[in-house]
């Protein structure tokens, strides 16, 4: 899905009207009527760049912000790198600073604008669909259950940004595009920072080993290609992209003619996960008390993978230790024989 921001001011107005957001409409209307040359107007980023690209022209160059997820205090730069901004998801031709910073619409710039702007509202006019999806996701549900603050758009999307301002700080305005390889690579690490086991098992799979080598364009899936972007749901949920109702469609996005057997593929093999081996052994130990559990473990496709893996580790260890020893001994024996022969020929010469 591509989220096209409703770009034009008129569109903003129209959607505002549609949602019966009269105050918003009135503000834009009146500002449009009382146009003055020094006043900010949609359609030009020039006046913003005038100051925000030069450090000496700004009264305040950086501000402290508290991260609602981690509680960290971050320093946000007020400087803009125009090229980086242009390359970002928001850097389109007809997209302007005040489309987001709407409280600056019509601001008088002769003395500089007011210092504390309202937090940008990503949802109301543009990204209402992903926001709605996100609020239904398993992540939000869990956080609400545990009385935790739900992260907002900018908490993730700026954190994933690889665009740094000249002061080295990440900024929400530089949200990269979804197809950007580096962005896709960083999302793997971002998901993996919590889901470490899943990251490791993904790295052991065919898809993960290619992305590990640094190839992260859209022809190899990263986490969100299979699990979804905003509406990440547990596989038991019928709407989940990896649940049994939709998995054929999800795999079929890349593998044409994906069939019911194909989608049984284990995307997260546990072959290097010590804990899985522990559960295996525990199930075998408790086989008498709990035979159903053992059956369940045996029917798990991970079990065969683990057996094959352990078998191969054994074969490797045996082959290299025995044949390595054989080669070494052979080598030494040849050297010994040659030395003996030389000794003999030397004696004969004397």
């Amino acid at each position: 899905m591509v989220y096209k921001p409703k770009r034009k001011l008129t569109v903003n107005v129209a959607s505002g009207l549609k949602r019966l957001r009269l105050p918003a409409f009135l503000v834009t209307f009146t500002s449009a009527v009382f146009l003055l040359p020094v006043i900010l107007f949609a359609g030009d980023n020039g006046p913003c760049y005038e100051c925000h690209t030069k450090q000496d022209k700004l009264k305040v160059t950086e501000k402290a912000k508290v991260d609602p997820v981690t509680g960290e205090i971050k320093v946000a730069s007020m400087l803009i790198d125009e090229a980086i901004y242009k390359a970002s998801a928001h850097g389109g031709e007809d997209f302007f600073c005040i489309d987001c910073h709407q409280d600056l619409d019509g601001a008088d710039l002769t003395e500089g604008h007011k210092s504390n702007l309202k937090p940008v509202d990503c949802i109301t006019f543009c990204h209402d669909d992903p926001a709605e999806d996100y609020l239904q996701s398993s992540h939000v549900k869990l956080m609400k259950e545990n009385n935790k603050d739900v992260p907002t758009c900018k908490d993730c999307h700026s954190g994933l940004s690889y665009h740094y301002t000249s002061l080295g700080e990440k900024s929400p305005r530089d949200v990269p595009k979804g197809v950007d390889p580096l962005h896709r690579k960083l999302t793997i690490e971002a998901c993996g920072s919590c889901h470490q086991d899943h990251l490791e098992s993904y790295r052991n799979n065919a898809h993960g080993q290619v992305t590990s080598l640094g190839h992260t364009t859209t022809d190899v899936p990263v986490c969100f290609d299979c699990h979804g972007k905003h509406k990440i749901l547990n596989s038991s949920n019928p709407e989940s992209k990896v649940g049994k109702e939709r998995i054929i469609e999800t795999c079929g996005n890349c593998h044409a003619n994906a069939n019911a057997s194909f989608v049984k593929h284990v995307e997260h093999p546990q072959i290097k996960n010590v804990n899985y081996y522990k559960t295996l052994l525990a199930a075998i130990k408790n086989a008498r008390n709990n035979p159903d559990n053992l059956k369940k473990v045996i029917k798990n496709p991970q079990t065969i993978l683990c057996i094959v893996f352990v078998m191969y580790v054994g074969i490797l260890a045996f082959t290299f230790s025995s044949f390595g020893l054989h080669s070494l001994l052979c080598w030494f024996a040849v050297v010994r024989d040659e030395r003996k022969r030389k000794g003999h020929t030397d004696e004969e010469q004397h």
């Binding site: 640094g214 593998h255 003619n257 798990n300 496709p301 993978l305 893996f309 044949f323 024996a333």
Partner: protein
């Protein structure tokens, strides 16, 4: 000094097959091993050197097809000689590459020689470890071909197994694990055991030219395979194998081709071994 009396040990067909296997094997290893050692910088560098994804994958598949072709040629050769020309000795006797009772005694004699309590045993045409290398090449090629094809066509291969089986036996994942570790086994084996047993022995260093020129000198023949030499002498067939010695130029070409390849293999196995050390420490 090279002796003037030379014997033909490998026919052109066998030399050509070995050449094809070298080319395809190195192509497969250089484009495949980075995937197994994905978290190391050298693996990324090597993968990028071969064009990265998906180019390195295409090179890998082309090399796989070359391997299939040489395996196919080998079996056509066997079929032609056994069924059409009715040649004997492919399954039994000194010319066979299958394990014979004699090999058990050879192994024991060889171990005695290693310990210094016996002299170097006299071998026939194929030494037991050469037989093992041949058989493991056959087995390894089969395993790698089957699992490689499953990974190449995962959708088509899973289509033939019912869903109830697929929930327990995940064919592509099993194929991936086998393909990865069989590859490490094969690459490690060729670059250490095969290299040190044939090419990098003190008496052969740096390369055993026999597999490239097909020729061995009389001294080498007597030293390595005295039984075969005596057998041929008794059967009065020795003269049939006599050939002119290879020219210096051919010898130079052989080294020009083989030495860089040997070094590449040794570097690869060194990197793989260092990865093992990093993982273990």
């Amino acid at each position: 000094m090279k002796s003037n009396i030379n014997y033909l040990r490998f026919s052109f067909f066998h030399r050509f097959c070995h050449f094809l296997i070298i080319i395809s094997f190195f192509g497969l290893v250089l484009t495949g091993v980075p995937l197994a050692f994905r978290s190391y910088d050298w693996a990324r560098w090597l993968y990028a050197l071969f064009g990265g994804y998906p180019t390195a994958g295409y090179i890998h598949r082309i090399c796989a097809l070359i391997t299939f072709f040489s395996a196919f040629m080998h079996f056509v050769y066997l079929f032609y000689n056994i069924s059409v020309k009715k040649k004997k000795g492919f399954f039994w006797g000194p010319n066979s590459l299958l394990i014979q009772p004699r090999d058990i005694f050879d192994i024991i004699a060889d171990i005695k020689w290693f310990m210094g309590i016996g002299k170097k045993p006299d071998f026939d045409r194929w030494i037991y470890w050469e037989k093992f290398e041949y058989l493991s090449l056959m087995w390894g090629t089969l395993v790698m071909a089957v699992t490689g094809l499953i990974l190449w066509f995962p959708v088509q291969f899973t289509k033939i197994i019912p869903v109830s089986v697929a929930t327990i036996v995940d064919l592509p994942s099993i194929a991936l694990i086998i393909h990865r570790y069989e590859a490490i086994l094969a690459a490690g084996f060729i670059f250490t055991i095969h290299f040190f047993h044939t090419h990098l022995l003190p008496e052969k260093m740096p390369v055993d030219e026999a597999i490239f020129t097909g020729r061995i000198t009389e001294e080498e023949f007597k030293h390595e395979r005295l039984n075969q030499f005596k057998r041929l002498e008794n059967q009065r067939q020795l003269d049939n194998y006599k050939v002119a010695p290879s020219s210096l130029f051919v010898s130079f070409l052989t080294r020009l081709f083989a030495v860089p390849i040997l070094i590449t293999g040794l570097i690869m196995v060194g990197l793989m071994f260092s990865a093992l050390l990093v993982w273990a420490l």
